[in-house]
Amino acid sequence: MSKVILKIENVSKQYRLGQVGTGTISHDLNRWWAKIRGKEDPFLKIGETNDRSKKGDTDYVWALQDINFEVNQGEVLGIIGKNGAGKSTLLKILSRVTSPTTGSIKTRGRIASLLEVGTGFHPEMTGRENVYLNGAILGMTKKEIASKIDEIIEFSGCERYIDTPVKRYSSGMTVRLAFAVAAHLDPEILVVDEVLAVGDAEFQKKAIGKMQDISREAGKTVLFVSHNMAAVQNLCTRGVVMRNGTIFFEGDIEESIQVYLKDNANIESLANFDSRIGSGVIKVIESSIYGENKNLEPQIGKPFHIELTIDNPQEIDSSHIRFDLKIDDRMGQRIAWMSNYLFNKETKSNVCKILFKMDKLNLNEGGYYISTDVYVDLKRADWLQSAIYFEVVDGDYYKAGRGVPVAESRLLFDFDVNFISK
């Protein structure tokens, strides 16, 4: 029987936007005056939901609004959501760095949080001294650290440098040492925010393995925030999807990931895109980029669709049209070139849409730009450069729970690898 170890009740958090200045003090005085008269805080009512892309009417936003959920002992909960959905604010409240505006969180165990590894490292002190200091900051006693110090040093792989000041370390070594300390914490509840995205591939593997050990063998409760869907899928048993400061979905991790991906399907109108080059006989007016189906975001290893709506007033049939599509990465590096010109397809009249389809998306995680180039009878009709942006979310291309580091390659290939014995 699993019991509830963490209970979050009606937690909300309000933030004030803009700079602190003379405007703030008048609000503060107002609030203080209301408090003296025993009235409610006048600015608590006016907050808006947190949609960062829209312009609001007030200076107050709710970074979190009425968050309610429970976590059972031994559960590994993944918290996922877009940037600005309120994940980090929630973790900050959980780790007691800041307090909620309303609501409360009740817990039956000690919470240790890893919002960032290496907090409190002092560059002048040696690795060993920093292990002690960092461990104590994270809530360990000196005795606990002393009993684990050998293990920590071994895990970090910095044995040779351990009595050298940390300022002489490479940044990778600092991170390794810091993570090693964090991995040997012994709280009932561990809160982790993206810290696995540090170090080289070898160390990441080690780190994820350690996280799995912590949750599976030791029966610890872990709250895990990440954009790395492969890691989330691998580690977590249950998921919470956040959107604009509220809980949008709560349930099984697979379902949660699906919901998260559905959350931002890309449909974009291009009718007002004005830097076009070409005769304009045919114009690209709308793009829709999606994964497996229209409700899902493009994900590595899953089917991928680029659907472009074209304005074709002269009802030109498809045999006269050559439609080129180019994909660049964010650095402007060309990744792919696709065109209907490569195939001989049967002629269709009065076309209004073109659909590019891949069965298994082999672009790595990240953002990409699409340029389109349309020719009618070999004359350029419409050329849009980097007009469409889309993001690919992480997935399990090789069905191994591991991915290709983004910095290594933008493209993924199907391949097989085997050792051959003598």
Partner: protein, 319 residues
């Protein structure tokens, strides 16, 4: 003062509502949690007791306090040749310069004791007070990175400042004793007496005072930074209000009778006078003044804890 009174009022309220059972549980005399299944280890919410000093938690983090103190001391003289001797050079040079300016040039008396020793005594105390105060008054600002990432009782930080400065004070105090014994050996007019046993009490007053006022300043400056400018020049002005380079008797002599109360309003006056009376046998003993200072510092300290507690839970959003 008003804050202080408010503080006392809240404190008395707090004591009334202490849940005795919870305390027994803390002492592990009864198994509180097992008989009550709905009991939680702790609760995070927007409301919190203003004087809720969680002693048990502070005690649990005592190793951290020790490590912070060690960090402050050790990193002070890393990569230096003279090492801890630098702690001594500061009061030594300051006192020498003051000796030249105030004694040789300005002819300020020193109650018939060697002026250098007189001013060194004042400086050793003053450096302790001003260093504690200055560091404490910037606690939130200098540690915002750390405080923004991990939770530990925030009070650990100001306490670490007090203790690491205490180590520094200890070294400077030993140096002062060295000079003192040299003066006695040379037969100067110096007469330490049994009142030296009260030194810990004097230190306690200075700790409470610097900690309390520092915590108030750091809390007030998280949102509005205006006060930081006042602190930087205020502390150097305060040095002249405190009897360091001149004896209190001189101030009383030169000031009109109607302003004498201003001299005694400064809580540090009687502390410095007491210290000099105890170690040098100069000046006068003002026990009533010391009592006033003690009371004043206790009030300031609780006001500091009150403001600090109120600020620490949300300051990271506004700093």
């Amino acid at each position: 003062m008003i804050l202080g009174l408010l503080a006392c009022f809240y404190l008395s309220n707090q004591i009334k509502f202490i849940d005795l059972r919870k305390y027994l549980y803390y002492l592990q005399l009864v198994s509180y949690s097992e008989e009550n299944k709905e009991e939680w280890l702790f609760e995070i919410s927007s409301k919190r007791g203003l004087f809720e000093l969680d002693y048990k938690e502070l005690w649990r983090y005592r190793d951290l306090l020790f490590l912070f103190v060690k960090r402050d001391i050790v990193t002070f003289y890393k990569q230096t040749i003279l090492g801890p001797i630098w702690f001594i050079i500061q009061p030594l040079i300051t006192s020498l310069i003051q000796f030249v300016i105030f004694s040789q040039i300005a002819n300020i008396p020193s109650d018939d004791t060697p002026y250098f020793l007189f001013v060194l005594a004042g400086n050793v105390l003053w450096f302790y007070f001003s260093d504690c105060f200055k560091s404490t008054s910037e606690v939130f600002k200098t540690n915002q990175n750390l405080f923004g990432k991990v939770y530990f009782p925030r009070l650990i930080m100001p306490l670490a400042i007090v203790f690491s400065n205490l180590v520094k004070f200890g070294i400077q105090f030993l140096f002062f004793l060295g000079v003192l014994f040299y003066c006695i050996y040379k037969g100067y007019n110096v007469h330490p007496n049994l009142y030296v046993l009260y030194t810990p009490l004097l230190l306690l007053v200075m700790i409470l005072l610097s900690l309390g006022s520092g915590m108030i300043i750091t809390s007030l400056t998280t949102k509005y930074r205006d006060l930081t400018f006042v602190v930087t020049f205020g502390i150097s002005l305060y040095m002249y209000v405190t009897p360091i380079v001149y004896p209190t008797s001189l101030a009383l002599e030169k000031l009109p009778e109607s302003l004498h109360y201003l001299v005694y309003l400064n809580p540090l006056t009687s502390i410095f006078d007491f210290f000099k009376y105890a170690f040098l046998g100069s000046g006068t003993l003002d026990l009533f003044g010391v009592l006033y200072s003690l009371l004043f510092s206790i009030i300031i300290f609780f006001a500091g804890v009150f403001v600090f507690n109120k600020t620490e839970k949300n300051f990271i959003d506004v700093i």
